[in-house]
Structure formats: structure tokens, C-alpha cells
């Protein structure tokens, strides 16, 4: 399989897990419990599929499981990508498993809620980080250029 196809599959999986988590989160109410259950199992299925595919994916594939590194000087992708991806897989996976088990073990309901809320914060961090890497950096550079341009034109005037 080509790397491009692996990337497409990864994007599809990302949409699946994010969409299912979103539905599970907004339906976490007594009135919409059946929808919450369905979406929760969709999240759990996505995590299981990801772990299985990641375990057997070739070394260079983007489908390989994230392997966080502390080598901040390394070229290429920022190390925080790996850390956040691993934290998300663990957090969202734990939220899904604890939710599934809470069906039979009611004492797990509170831990499930705490894990889900914590995962939401990690998701927020992930979105903010990706937004910064792909857009924020460019925006900061543009602001920097604009500011230096203003300074430069002021110097010209004087």
C-alpha cells in the first residue's frame, strides 16, 4: 500500500474517532443515553482498530503507533505531535473502555466522566498545537514582518 493511501486511511480514522467522540460528548445525558452508548462504542471500536493496525503497520507508515521522543533537536515533525497523539490514544481509549465497563460496573461512572473531561482538555491542546504549527506560526511571522515593515518605514521617514 502506498504512503498516500495510508495518510488517507489515517485521516478517515481521525474523522471517525473525533466525530464519534464529539457525538459521545454532546449526548452524555440521561435523555440521550442510547446515542451516547452508540457513539461511545464507535470510539472504542476506532481505538481498537487503530491499535491493531498500528501494531502491524510497516515501519515507515504513518499508520504506525506514535512513538514519543524527548529528542527536541531532531529534524522533522515536532516531538509534541507524538506526545499528544499518545496521550490522546491513551486518554480517549481509557474513556471509551471505562464507559463500556460502567454499563455493568456503575462505580466506574465517575472515573469515566473524569477521564472523558481530561481527554477533552488534551484534545483542546492537540487542536491548539496543530493550529499553531499549521497556521499560528505563519500568522506570527506575518505579524512580525508587518511590525518590522512599520519600523522600517518609520526609519525611512526619519
Amino acid at each position: 500500500m502506498s504512503t498516500k493511501l495510508h495518510h488517507t486511511l489515517l485521516k478517515l480514522w481521525h474523522a471517525w474517532v473525533a466525530g464519534a467522540f464529539l457525538v459521545a460528548y454532546v449526548t452524555a445525558d440521561e435523555d440521550t443515553y442510547a446515542m451516547h452508548l452508540f457513539a461511545g462504542y464507535a470510539v472504542l471500536a476506532a481505538i481498537v482498530v487503530r491499535l491493531l493496525v498500528g501494531a502491524f503497520a510497516p515501519t515507515a507508515s504513518p499508520l504506525r503507533l506514535p512513538r514519543p521522543t524527548l529528542d527536541w533537536a531532531r529534524k522533522g515533525r515536532h516531538p509534541l505531535f507524538g506526545w499528544l497523539a499518545a496521550a490522546l490514544l491513551a486518554g480517549v481509549g481509557l474513556a471509551a473502555i471505562s464507559g463500556a465497563l460502567a454499563d455493568g460496573l456503575p462505580w466506574l461512572e465517575d472515573p469515566h466522566e473524569v477521564i472523558a473531561q481530561t481527554s477533552l482538555w488534551v484534545i483542546g491542546g492537540h487542536v491548539a498545537f496543530v493550529a499553531f504549527i499549521y497556521g499560528g506560526k505563519r500568522l506570527l511571522n506575518r505579524i512580525g514582518q508587518e511590525l518590522s515593515g512599520i519600523r522600517f518605514s518609520k526609519e525611512n521617514i526619519q
Binding site: H14, G19, L22, A34, M35, A39, A42, V130, Y134
Partner: protein, 41 residues
């Protein structure tokens, strides 16, 4: 790229949400599989 990802996630959320709503409806209408005791939910 980020915008595209967000749109993909929202589309997936709509699809999964719709499927979940259908599941909830069938469950509510007693169309779900019988439980161990033989009664419907």
C-alpha cells in the same frame, strides 16, 4: 489543512450522530435485541 480536518470531523460526527439517533429510536421502540430475560428494553 486544519479547516479540512475540522470539516471531515464534523461530517463524521453528523454520520455517526445520525446512526446513533437511529439506534436510539429502534431501542426506544423496542426493536433492539431481547435481553437475557427475554424482555425488550
Amino acid at each position: 489543512m486544519l479547516g479540512k480536518m475540522l470539516i471531515h470531523c464534523l461530517v463524521a460526527a453528523i454520520l455517526i450522530g445520525s446512526a446513533a439517533a437511529v439506534y436510539a429510536q429502534t431501542r426506544g421502540a423496542g426493536l433492539a435485541l431481547p435481553t437475557v430475560t427475554g424482555h425488550h428494553d
